[in-house]
Amino acid sequence: MDLNNLTLAAARQLLDNRQITSRQLTEYYLRRLKKYDDQVHASLLIDETGALKQADEADQRLISGDQTGVLGIPYLVKDNILTKGLKTTAASKILADYIAPYDATVIAKLRQSGAVLLGKANLDEFAHGTSTENSAMGPTKNPYDLERVPGGSSGGSAAAVAADFCLFALGSDTGGSVRHPASLCGVVGYKPSYGAISRHGLIAMASSTDVIGILAKTASDAASVLRIIAGQDKFDATAQTKLATAKIKDKINWADLRIGWPDEYVSTGLDLAVLDSLTQVKNFLQEHGAKIIPLSLPSTKYGVAVYHVITSAEVSANLARFDGLRYGYKQSAASLNETYLINRGHFGAEAKRRIMLGTYILSAGDGCFYYNQAQRVRRWISYDFDQAWEKVDFLLTPTVPRPAFRLSQKINDPLSLYLEDALLTPASLAGVPAVSWPTGWSGDGLPIGSQLIGPLGNDYDLLTLTQAMQTALPCLRRRLAWEK
């Protein structure tokens, strides 16, 4: 049986019809990982023994008639999400040998539902980055061009789905870290409403915008995973956002749709192929009766500045626990100060930059001035979205202005890497759901994504529209040059 390019939904059918076992499916992805991942470097750890054991347990449940959404489905998880008994490194030397004593809530839910955890996916250290080059374990490569970045920070998760190493992957998105690599790797990357999915067991980067997101081949597959992992959690007081509906709809009435076309997202700085791809989506919607409503969100251009003020402040506070005494690397020294310096010296360059920037932002005087300003503009960004929702149901935008750039091209220019997230940070700062899905290809054969943003809690409607667009304008996965 040809399992190449299977979706979660197709695998579900094969499993439920007993045409395949979870063990066969798991062995297929383990084989692919072993054969090809030394080139892509999407994974940091493969748990073959654990995965096969979980697959056998899933097969037993399938025989007894159990058919939950992810039962027997192999997946990978970004390595900043805790997995009991397996290393969780956050791609940092500081946590190189850390083994979590408990599962993150999302992992516990997936385990209970019978999903098969294949291993851990690469990321920018502590999820700081847009290229996965900040991983202390080496960069992930874009499956469509091994000399280019996969995006980040969930670059390993996105590359793994694109390379067909798993049926879905979990990532985390603080300011675009699921949507950015999804766009660059040609897969679906869904960032939920803030508070829809528990963050318990996600190594905190910036707690006020961190969410766990889903990378998959289709929006429908992402919705199947969302059904399992969403919901309140006694271990995360912020996991309180109730979703308006419980699943995606099969049909969509195009004529009922009001789609916002925000000037600030589409007017400047876009690669022509990105604009062409987005315009095709817009034209399709228009031809099928949807109302395209041009509008303005003037706060958009300040998103990156607000994001880096607020998240750096939160990063410097959240990474204070890695001090050589409580968490992480532990090496003795002659004084307390020296203990801190030696142990925190294992942070990579980007983590150091963000910690120092956050320390500055949280200092009295000029730094504090930036923080107060950013909090104010953050309120404006949310206000702008609220104004938009009075006129439209969703916003249609590009995900990233340009396709994947070359490895090392921007590594010494952190500001240009930060600006990669220009179209992604506003949704994160406002906590609203957003999804990137593949809509085209550049002249060089690199994937291009488009983004839909929706109101808080309307996640399933957002995924319904995304799936409808994927069905109407399919952008099929292409053959990868290194696949034999």
Partner: protein
Amino acid sequence: MNMKLDKQTISHLANLAKIKLEDGEAEIYSQQLSDIIGHLNNLSEADKFIQQAQLTDQIDGYQFKAASVDLSADEVATWPADETAASLAMTGSQPGQPVTIPPIRG
């Protein structure tokens, strides 16, 4: 505001953040963080826009919908014994004994 984070300021921030800088790093970070601060200065322009558009009251009084939290009852829960043991083992400590940390010599 036109801030430049010079080498001395970077060294001061690194000291506050308990981060050891290697030779030459202060200079690199000074350039990179000054570039970033330069971008953050755009926020002043945002303030002007808010005032000119007469949005000050709406924005200063804005309440985030995503941030509304109903606190649950503060009840003590029992953590699974194996997870407690694994956590303590990582610190090199014994159940019922104080948590130990690496010794500070000198």
